[in-house]
């Protein structure tokens, strides 16, 4: 009996070792793609470019790109493998960029491969590139590879710039939602540099238009709490004020009037005057700045929302706000109502400090 037991245990160990082997992915024997770019390659085909960091023994990182095109993204990966000395894996993918041209044709089908693959992070950053994705990825920008560089660039702009917090998870949430539409940061290669150009707006998975640059502040403020950003206020023809260290908060109220919802957004902005041009900062002037800022914000918000309504997109998720406050919510009715909906933004600006001089 005891011998049988030992034999059984040996058998289990043996079979686990000989039949339970799985393919290894040893960290220095794989090419860990850090960025992937998609370009339109005519017809049904998509050109895929991947960036692979090359880790050198002296701890510096190089940059290498591979490109191939096919109908299926995974098939392209196979084609890439044909030209790569190490197995290509995408578990460390940091950024996925789509060219504008491709985005106009819809990126839904291409997103599928990223979404289905369990090795891809939910924190993946997705962006639209104004121009050619391959061209963007080929260049090495910082001391790290392009993938990590781009992710650091976008992350930095999310933390302290005007790009809303938006990763792959947020994108998918908005993409599949019936009530809101996704948007993505728009980047552009500018000679030797990359810069964030603005925000690309989507409808049904297709890129349609850009958000105006001056609307970015309001856009982000209406999505989340803003912290430590700067806002440029134009008072007169040539009088400008810079408000810094801005903290914002917004609250959505929905009223139902005659079966039709009415949305009011209350936006509170607190900031410090850092720079003023051609305007004094006396008590009265501060009051003027305050009022001026309130008005400018409201105008910008109204204009922005009007464009959204005209284009029948809802990147700010008003649909969700209304749905969460109404019982028996009807999607179809809402979509009909949306273009003519009354959406008002009320702002309240507080100037906390004005620096060390009057």
């Amino acid at each position: 009996m005891k011998k049988l037991k030992i034999a059984m245990i040996c058998f289990v160990i043996f079979s686990a070792i000989f039949f339970g082997r799985v393919t290894t992915q040893i960290v220095d024997d794989v090419n860990m793609a850090s960025a992937v770019g998609y370009d339109y390659a005519g017809g049904d085909r998509v050109k895929l470019t991947t960036v692979v960091p090359v880790f050198k023994p002296d701890k510096s990182v190089g940059n290498k790109t591979y490109a191939a095109s096919d109908e299926l993204s995974k098939e392209t990966l196979r084609k890439l493998n044909q030209s790569s000395s190490r197995k290509m894996v995408n578990g460390k993918l940091e950024v996925a960029v789509y060219s504008k041209e491709l985005a106009e044709r819809g990126i839904g089908d291409i997103v599928d491969t990223l979404e289905r693959d369990p090795s891809i992070s939910e924190r993946l950053l997705v962006a639209i590139v104004d121009g050619d994705a391959e061209q963007l990825l080929k260049e090495k920008y910082g001391d790290r590879d392009t993938g990590v560089f781009l992710s650091m660039l976008i992350d930095q702009n999310i933390d302290s710039g005007l790009v809303p917090t938006y990763n792959f998870h947020n994108f998918l949430n908005n993409y599949y939602s019936k009530l809101s539409d996704p948007f993505l940061p728009l980047i552009q290669k500018n000679g030797k540099y990359v810069q964030i150009k603005g925000i690309a707006l989507f409808k049904d998975g297709r890129y349609i238009q850009n958000l105006k640059q001056e609307h970015q502040f309001v856009f982000k403020a209406l999505l989340e709490k803003l912290k430590l950003v700067t806002y440029k206020l134009k008072l007169d023809e040539d009088a400008f004020v810079a408000i810094e260290d801005i903290n914002t908060r917004h609250k959505v109220r929905v009223k139902k009037i005659k079966g039709k919802p009415e949305v009011t957004v209350e936006l509170t902005v607190k900031g410090i005057i850092r720079e003023s041009k051609k305007i004094r900062t006396s008590e009265a002037a501060v009051e003027r700045i305050r009022k001026g800022m309130e008005k400018q914000l409201e105008d910008q918000a109204d204009e922005m929302i009007r464009t959204f309504q005209k284009a029948q997109i809802d990147p700010l998720g008003f649909g969700h706000e209304v749905r969460s406050r109404m019982r028996g919510f009807d999607y179809k009715k809402w979509l009909e109502q949306y273009p003519n909906l009354k959406i008002k933004v009320k702002t309240q600006v507080d100037i906390l400090e004005k620096g060390v001089i009057e």
Binding site: A16, T24, F55, K56, D58, K59, K92
Partner: protein, 496 residues
Amino acid sequence: MKRWLFKKPDEKEISEHVSLIDHCKKSGDFVYFYSSRPQQPYWIAYFSSIVDEEILHRDILPPLHQTALTSLAEIKAALPIQNVQITSDCQTIENALLRGSVLIQFHEKDTACVLVRAPMIKARDVTIPEEEYSVVGPKEAFVESLTTNLNLIRSRLPISELQVKEYIIGSLSKTKVAVLYIEGITNDENVQTACQRLESLDYHQILDSSFISQLIEDNKNSIFPQFIDTERPDRVAGVLAEGSVVIMVDGSSHAIIGPISIMELFNAFEDYFVNWQMASAFRLIRVFAVAFSIMVTPVYVAVLTYHYQLIPKDLLVTLVSSRRNIPLPPILEAVILELTIELLREAGARLPTKVGQTIGIVGGIVIGTAAVDAGLTSNVLLILVALAALASFTTPVYRMGNTIRLLRFPFLLMADLWGLLGIAIAFLFLMTHLLKLTSLGRPYLEPIFPPNIRDLKDAFVRLPFSTQSKRPDFLQTKNPVRFPVKKRDKVKDIDE
């Protein structure tokens, strides 16, 4: 006694006796001579190697020479030595001779004789503990003599309830084994289990207490120590007062303590000499160090072989570039390095202290640097393996350190097979094994499972003495109260 004198001893007894003496004579250190004194001649026999010549010449021979002693009883009365017995039993005579007694008889053919104990006791002086050295606290350690060791314990526990049960074990070694416990505190069941196991023990030679602990362990196939061996008399006195059973072996400088729970393997006795915050912090560090020591190389292998996604992007550069030139897969790299460390340790342990130290330092630095330079291992792994080795030395119980050394390898193999999942599976086996283990019939994993709040006060942390008014629950002591709890004084107000 008179009977022996006048009774004619039968032939069989005589021949037995003679053959015993003849048998002993074969040994070169056996002394057997005839003193032809006019008054009363006598024969004297002993093993010169184990008899104290000083006692012999000072206390035994002079009385025999000065007066005419005609009977064995008179000899017994004349000798200024306590342990004198008169016997004719061959077995007794043989045992006594081999334990350092001197045999005196009037006639070669006599079966009755006087046995005078004059053993030469060669024992070390009590020295400083080496394995369990502590900066604070007493500095006495056990020696190889059971009598001295018992003395060290009795002087710490001068109470009549301290019981010593003695057994003679070993068909060749005839080793004296003592079971110590305090009556009225220690659970009878524990004492009985220990005694029963000792009684049923059948082994030819007991050279050290570790023989006993290996022979009476609950699970002989476990690599976990199920008894603690200690060389500190203060620790023994401490655990006796807690209600444990202690087994001591003559000729061994270690006492074994049981039943124990796994947490006691992380407790240095020093913890009781420093204040409780320190002790708790050190204990937590030890637990963490042990977990680290077992897990770190397997996790390294698992992550680098299968789960590259887990590595944050900033760490990736360090790890991948350190491994860029290394031809071996992580598992081989880790096994080679672990084996190197084990090699150094074994070599250091087998060599004389001073050479051993040098080998350790030279080997560690030279081989480590050379291996990294040659591109055989990555420097990250070198740091991890060295840290793991260091961490395994933090365990206060030496045998637990060995367990940890060994435990790492199955984890490594499983990590190579299925990555982190393999580690989880190995952990499940370990967990089940620990749950199954018992020490003298008591659950090994006690304060953790079965969960026991009272015992947790002195497990991962050591709370102040005032909170520990009760003895550990898992020992199931007869009298669980250590000391009566004092009523708390009324808290003084601020202005009082």
